[in-house]
């Protein structure tokens, strides 16, 4: 259950926006990608999922469970997506279809990939809703997205990602749009779920503090290239590259310091 990315490049209209990115997500691992807007981190995630926008071309190697993903057609990709790897998006607002009930959206992956129907699908929806900590799971599955709070919607997004029983979860800034207390709940949830299901997590963020909460290893991206990588603890205590140092410095300038820590 591992993901090995080697020399990944993504070009959009001739501009190289991801340049020679290489990293590994071992089975059960929690790897983070950190960088500012425009560093290419989201595009890397999209390339892995095969969800690049039209006009974007990926080259290099993305090996998932030994299988090469770069160059696969959409038809070959679709079965992998949702079933073996799933994505959680940043905006809980727009990632859900406003005119469908959340229960249906949660189990969609299961219906498509595992052929789940009717009663069993409904059961799965309730189960997953419970797993992600949604209140009153049996009733909430019949709700529409607009009836839920931002944090609840993001939990629905996570439940939906889990429905196909993926081995890799790619989370693209899932907590950026959420309140701090809600964010903590979601991060704890993600960590717990990944451990409990023996899945791997690739977590993308621009926030070092959030990275510190959820990832064990990370790579730092700047303008499409990896400038530094390693264990998160080491990156935070002894960063080497100026970009990493800059991120750390800026984070500290705007971070809350519980008294007593520097």
């Amino acid at each position: 259950m591992s993901l090995i990315v080697e020399g990944l490049t993504v070009e959009i209209d001739g501009t190289r926006v991801v340049d020679g990115v290489s990293f590994e997500v071992p089975s059960g691992g929690r790897v983070g990608i950190i960088g500012e807007s425009g560093s290419g981190k989201s595009l890397t995630a999209l390339a892995i999922m095969g969800l690049l926008p039209d006009g974007a071309v990926a080259r290099g190697s993305i090996r998932w469970e030994g299988r090469e993903l770069v160059g696969l057609s959409e038809r070959e990709r679709a079965p992998i997506r949702g079933r073996e790897m799933a994505m959680i998006f940043q905006e809980p607002q727009t990632a859900l279809n406003p005119i469908r009930r959340v229960g249906a959206q949660i189990v969609e992956a299961a219906r498509i990939h595992h052929g789940l129907r009717g009663h069993r699908a409904a059961q799965l929806a309730t189960e997953l809703a419970r797993d992600v900590g949604l209140p009153s799971p049996e009733t909430i599955v019949s709700a529409y997205p607009h009836q839920l709070s931002g944090g609840q919607r993001q939990r629905v997004g996570i439940a939906a990602a889990l429905a196909g029983q993926p081995s890799l979860i790619v989370a693209d800034e899932p907590t950026t749009a959420l309140d701090v207390t809600v964010q903590k709940g979601i991060l704890d949830l993600l960590a717990g779920l990944v451990a409990g299901r023996d899945a791997s997590l690739l977590f993308i963020t621009h926030d070092l503090a959030v990275l510190a909460q959820i990832a064990t290893h990370a790579l730092v991206l700047d303008s499409g290239s990896v400038v530094e990588s390693g264990e998160v603890d080491r990156l935070l205590s002894a960063p080497e590259h100026p970009v990493t140092r800059g991120l750390l410095r800026d984070a500290k300038a705007t971070l809350w310091r519980p008294e007593g820590s520097s």
């Binding site: 500012e36 207390t181 935070l236 800059g246 800026d250 984070a251 705007t254």
Partner: protein, 260 residues
Amino acid sequence: MSEIILRARGVTREFRAPRRTLVEKRSVSFALQPVDLTVRTGSSVGIIGESGSGKSTLARLLLGLDRPTAGVVEVGGHAVDAGASARELRWLRRAMGVVLQDPYGSLDPRMNVGRIVGEPLWALGIDGDRRQRVREVLARVGLPGVEERYPHEFSGGQRQRIALARAIVHRPQILVGDEPLSALDVTVRAQILDLLNQIRHEEGMTLIMVSHDIGVVQNVCDEVVVMTGGEVVEQGATGDVLRHPRHAYTKQLLAAIPTI
């Protein structure tokens, strides 16, 4: 002890849900509980809260952009009547400047930067060489010579600088920020925060900053007001409140913040 520049007394705001039937009574969908706030000249106050806490509602009330259901807001000793005409409220508009949250929505896409930043001068009928003042203020925020450009040519951080320029062009005494940094990247945030601090100290402005980000508030504000569910649950000197939180919500909030 310096004078009180802004005061809120028993300020509340009720929002009623739209009626579903003609005869149904309109229920209250959200209410800001009575707030008492005193801000002294030259100080900086942070209003912390998560979504739905009522902090933005409070900010609008303090700015005189919304009418309280009950209670009074006083600026410089004068009561604010948010229902009065724009002309009658000129004194208030002159005294205050605001930077809003969304850098992509707070600048009119069809006006150039020069006109946008100069608008308060025009609207308030302020004398003097307006173009010169606009030039000055744009240079001050680190964007010299951009008067002829349009908002879409700038990044989020740059737009907030433009919004800041607009907020201070008329030399207000009070600067209000409604989550001005929330939509920005970490790096950019640090820069803008720095700028805000500098300008505030140079011009001797009073700062009221609404934010959900405690780190930001800690860096900039001497006093802090914590809100949740439409209520103020704690207020006091920043150091005190953040080091020794008394209310359960404050404690919960601080515990949830990811740190390095």
